[in-house]
Assembly symmetry: C3
């Protein structure tokens, strides 16, 4: 009974047209050009490397796409148990008519060619969007992205601020800010002005969120003006040689100022909490980051209290932080749960984490899922994974355990999958 | 098969007469007077506030109960997915004959009036106890509660000690102690004497436990007499201006002394570990506390070793601490698992946490559940939630996975629900 | 459907011949001599003690085995819910023809005598191995174990190094090292030489791993030669009175040197992370250790990066660390997940932890289970528990949720149960 019920709920959820509230899509090249763009996704390169594929095999310069795919396909067998591999198979089957259970050295060329034929069609990205039932896709834009040359209702800008907060000591970042804002930063006042220009440009171009990823030990706090001025002076003078405590102070000031602009611009501030960068520095591209799960939302206490008008959609990297996220969203009006991020984006963790949220956080304050994808082709299998788990939770924990009607359960699913993206981000 | 099995086990568990080992019931007004006492429970006010209801809408002075209910009902829709909302519906249906799935602006008045009619009956609290199959209810009494005017076999006193340990620097707390004990505290010796008087009065009046809630960073340790004397002197002299390290030292001394009196009085010492108070200071009444889940029972190592004769029924606020609780109860003879507290009192966490305990902690050392309620009406739906989950675990993990008979499974359920409350607390 | 599917998968897994990659078997007395060796396992003594059995009842000198069993049987009733108790029952039923559901004061003597008759047969250990389908068993050998007098293909040596890293300040440990290596340690150079001799002897005798258990606060780091020399001098001079920071420095140096020898000897280095020793010092033998679950694999960042050629099969004591283990094994080529250790070796935690690994870690990098047993009789029920859970995960999460064929699911199960033990440890 439960299997059939799950299937019925899945079918209903799967019929919804969605907005993907967090991706890394390049709006000028949203879909893959060859299968190398698919298999080059860090989930495959890092797992293949972890299972034994030398990094240089896939990162040496000038490998032809087809050759790169061949090398990766040779290394895929040890990953065929993973959910990441299942995304690849579901995509291949649904988008490219692949009819095999596994991708092997004996069958990959057919898929490569079939994919290439599809990807070469001029409207391929539109086809993918349609097949994936995606109405719009949020981007992750560098602060100096010109935001020109694409339809911002389809590809919704989002201001990513990691560089400003954590890498302002780099000359290049400061130069990019000056160029993007037209303001030369010498003092806190000009820094504020420069940031204001960014927010102006982004909001004029339809941005719907500001976003940042944060290391586990970050604990934002308000910085006094004099301290901010001194920190900025030290960083402007010393760059990356400035004393770490000054750089840290400036990071705090910058972060706080961004929150102030979010309040002023009525932009939600997506916080993606808990990543340590380059833990495995010899790893493949984008396959080097890990984490320390000993993080607490108590570190954000002062922030949540200081900005009651800013909505904070929060992603946590580790499932052990999910109960805190659930509880903080239950108490703080401005905290919203946001998807299942990265190392927590696998079924066992999604199931545990989503169930906890669905039963204790107001239904209006949960954004079920985002794909985090770099190429459009991944929305379909990733959302499908989430929808299957959501259907399972609704079937087992709401219809069976709590006696809900299927309609009522579906209605909850629809709200976390689609409705709340509209209300939280104002799209 | 599993559904029918779960139902049969639930029906058996649901027929048991229970003792609720931790509540905040006022024995002089144990049941609700109007539905405002029900909807005013912090679970509803804080969730409604989190979903957008301004605090002043429900906290402005002199709102009539019916008007307060109306305002809350208007704000309930965003919570109708939560398990807390389901408690309200199950209570309304079981105690007041409500036959709707949701409480709305169109149907609330009928419920309000039906509830008022019931609540106005002079024997209403007895009716609730009977309908809820409750034989006795533990209280949470301030240390200066006179404990007079109620049947202490039905409403069992329990000495709550947060104020003594954490707020002794407040003049008012010291004055209350002097008044309650008849002892003027000047030295450690008189402090001990005053505390002894409290324990005398509570045990004479049938108290069955001492209890305290503790912040995540508390790590009790024995304080040397000279240090205790100095800390007490500093606090008596400076009150809340006394140096934090002295206040902290005194808190440790006070806590340790309470444990000594528990040993002497043979009272279990309920530890409720992990809450940070007033994290969201602008929140509604009782809806301001959250937590840092980075707490460990290793902080209690010295305590558990020092008091082998004191039983410590332990509640942890975060589910990530549950495995430690399970392990510590498996090793330490004086550690007992105690219910599912607050932010862990939702089905996903209860299921995971209770299953882990049931399969690894001696069956005599687990207290399944307490309601933590402020009004009697909540015992029925809260215990029902727990009993459904317990039935699910017993059905799936014991009968199906381990081949137990239903009788054997029920017997284990009965012991954690009822039997151990008797043996651990001596009722 | 799911129950029958689980049973079919279990039956297939249960037919596999296994290698147990971590035990504490004494190869000179691998099986129990009487039931006292079984009931004397710390899981029973510590749980019985936790439930009320005084320590001296089972630890007073010169108790006859049969009397010891009688005393423990009297104390077993409060444990009959635990999974540990179920190991005992399954073993009694499968190996000794016991046909009761519980072991009681009324039926224990029959079991005692039946077990004694079996255990007295000269080929009893071979019978147990055969019945348990065990082809080989890894040992845990002290560094000065002569490794003589047993078949090292059946009982595979493994160099345990806790004493060297954490107790080198003890005179006795230093004397044992001198005797075992034939090298008098005066300098870092002779320390290296002595350790090298140990690795030589172990690898010549077929050792397949180096192993160590580590406290939660250990964070290995490379120690500069001069600092190592100074630390060694301080410990040689002061023994256990040497300054803690020097002892700690030496522990780090020793650990790092062991990793260097693992690289040189091509031995995997089993890390068992997270145990605090003697937390309950008054507990029964081997029933005193607990943990602080606030540990992170980020503490091992430098190590994993420094030794890309050393495979680290990693066990974590707390389930809350399992997601980090899963993620680190997903990223680092040299990190492998290893079994379900001690306080995480109960069904609820195994199910959650194994499911997370199976869906996100390359299938070649997961060692499903080890028994950790002291007597051969425990492999059968412990592996049976794991295989049931593995069958459940494969049935529900792979066949039903992901549409895998049963053959494909079994194949994954076989690899984590058996195949990876061969490839990771080279047996």
């Amino acid at each position: 009974m439960s299997q059939a019920l799950r299937q019925r709920l899945f079918d209903q959820l799967d019929a919804l047209v969605l907005i993907d509230p967090h991706t890394h899509i390049n709006p000028h090249a949203p879909a893959a050009a060859t299968l190398a763009d698919v298999l080059g996704y860090h989930y495959y390169t890092e797992l293949a490397h972890s299972a034994g594929l030398p990094k240089q095999r896939i990162e040496e310069p000038d490998i032809e796409p087809k050759e790169k795919v061949r090398r990766l396909v040779e290394a895929l067998a040890p990953l065929d148990n993973t959910i990441q591999y299942s995304w690849l198979m579901e995509m291949a089957q649904r988008l490219f008519g692949f009819d095999q259970e596994r991708l092997t050295i004996d069958n990959w060329e057919g898929l490569y060619d079939a994919a290439l034929a599809k990807m070469s069609q001029p409207d391929w990205s539109s086809q993918v969007l349609r097949e994936s039932k995606l109405q719009a896709v949020f981007l992750t834009n560098d602060f100096d992205d010109p935001l020109e040359g694409f339809d911002t209702r389809l590809y919704v800008p989002c201001l990513r601020t990691d560089d400003l907060v954590f890498h302002f000591a780099r000359t290049q970042v400061r130069e990019r800010l000056q160029k993007a804002s037209g303001v030369a930063v010498h003092k806190v006042s000009t820094l504020r002005q420069a940031l204001g220009r960014l927010f102006d440009r982004f909001t004029r171009r339809g941005a719907r969120a500001c976003a940042i990823s944060l290391p586990p030990d970050f604990a934002p706090r308000r910085v006094e003006p004099a301290a901010a001025e001194a920190a900025l002076a030290a960083v402007l003078a010393g760059g990356e040689s400035a004393p770490p405590e000054r750089r840290h102070e400036l990071a705090n000031f910058m972060f706080w100022t961004l929150a102030e602009y979010c309040a002023e611009s009525r932009l939600p501030f997506d916080l993606m909490i808990g990543v340590n960068r380059s833990v495995y520095a010899a790893g493949v591209y984008q396959g080097q980051d890990l984490y320390d799960s000993r993080v607490s939302l108590i570190q954000y206490r002062e922030l949540f209290n200081a900005f009651p008008k800013v909505t904070f959609p929060i992603s946590v990297l580790a499932s052990v932080t999910n109960q805190e996220l659930t509880s903080y969203a239950w108490i703080f009006p401005n905290v919203v749960t946001h998807g299942h991020w990265w190392y927590s984006n696998t079924p066992t963790f999604i199931e545990h984490d989503a169930a906890a949220r669905l039963e204790a956080v107001p239904r209006t304050k949960q954004i079920g899922y985002y794909s985090d994808m770099y190429k459009l082709e991944f929305a379909l299998p990733k959302f499908a994974m989430y929808k299957r788990i959501l259907a399972k939770i609704l079937a087992e924990r709401f219809v069976l355990d709590r006696g809900w009607s299927e309609d009522r359960a579906f209605d909850l699913g629809r709200q976390v999958l689609r409705g709340n993206v509209e209300t939280v981000f104002g799209v």
